[in-house]
Symmetry: C2
Subunit: 210 residues, 2 copies
């Protein structure tokens, strides 16, 4: 009897890699449904049908599991290199749209908002997630400067915020009844956003040359 009870903690690291995936997906779902204040580790374990010990061995606080879940849901921008700034920014737009229309929808935006509302709980853990996203995006702009596509000194943050932010804002302003239509035309829409931003960058570079 004591053997059975102590077995889980004796097992060491993941035997079943699916357990992590299940715990992280469940975290995103519950957070989306319940919000930050009502999220807790026991609830996550129960809904994921995973033993508490298996969860606590990996994550000890809801801040920790939530940032792991956000990382898990985030496609890395660092690996992305299409060879042109336009191609890279379209890919950033696609990543943004896939996230919004995907299973975990607005989870990332809500998390960034909750980081403002519950800073003492959340901000420290989320800072790393945010920094990874920013670093990946910067690479895109630095490569474009190296290729001579845009002028030195172009602000990476401004460009990336403009591409992702425009799409996010449009998504939030779209009534639910029109979301399907928005999604159907999303590729063309992303291109129009990227072309607006690229036109803006180029007009700034040329006025700086003058």
């Amino acid at each position: 009897m004591p053997r059975a009870a102590s077995q889980p903690s004796g097992r060491g690291r993941p035997i079943d890699p699916d357990i992590e995936t299940r715990l992280l997906s469940t975290t995103l779902e519950l957070y989306g449904d319940l919000g930050w204040a009502r999220l807790n580790l026991d609830l996550i374990a129960r809904h994921a049908k995973v033993g508490k010990a298996a969860l606590y061995r990996r994550w000890q606080t809801k801040e920790q599991i939530m940032s792991a879940a956000l990382r898990f849901s985030q496609r890395s921008l660092g690996d992305l290199d299409t060879g042109t700034l336009r191609g890279d920014l379209v890919a950033v737009g696609q990543e943004t749209a896939e996230r919004l229309f995907g299973n975990h929808g607005t989870v990332r935006m809500r998390a960034m908002i909750d980081a403002k509302v519950f800073p003492e709980l959340f901000e420290g853990e989320i800072a790393g997630v945010r920094a990874e996203g920013i670093t990946g995006g910067r690479e895109i702009i630095f490569r474009a400067i190296e290729r001579g596509e845009i002028a030195k000194g172009t602000s990476p943050a401004l460009i990336l915020d403009a591409v992702a932010g425009t799409i996010e804002h449009h998504y939030l302003m779209t009534p639910n009844s029109k979301l399907k239509e928005f999604e159907a035309g999303i590729d063309k829409y992303i291109e129009s956003v990227v072309d607006l931003v690229l036109g803006g960058i180029k007009s700034q570079s040329s006025s700086a040359d003058r």
Copy 2:
């Protein structure tokens, strides 16, 4: 005794206009702290120190009071006319920033997100609030087209989403420890966003002329 109990419902419409302001501010605060799922009318009445009867005479559901509160927190863009597109877009940017840095911070963004998560509860009521924002913004673009500042066929939504969305996204990506710094430089930042967007519009108009 019965007279005192029946008195409130006999009073008719607002005697104390402060009551409405107090109820709407409290709604925004509680929503910001607790989220949509835990918000309810009795809680609002208690926190606002207003009798339930006085609340229920005005709003019968939390959807109704929440949309009234969002309207109350929204400065109308319709009244705004600085005479130039750049001036108007800077004003849109200022309105966005004031909202984010203001008392009720991210409430509007969270409400738009919750409208996606709890559509059956929320979407109908919020549609009107959203539509008012969009109508006000469109006027800005139509006036600029009339003045000949930009080409016919320029998408109002794309421009307004770009100005507000870029600022919102930047706000969400800014760590709390750097928010003060961001706020201190907000006027210059808003101008750089507006100039990026204006440059983009103008480069599109000129490539359409060709």
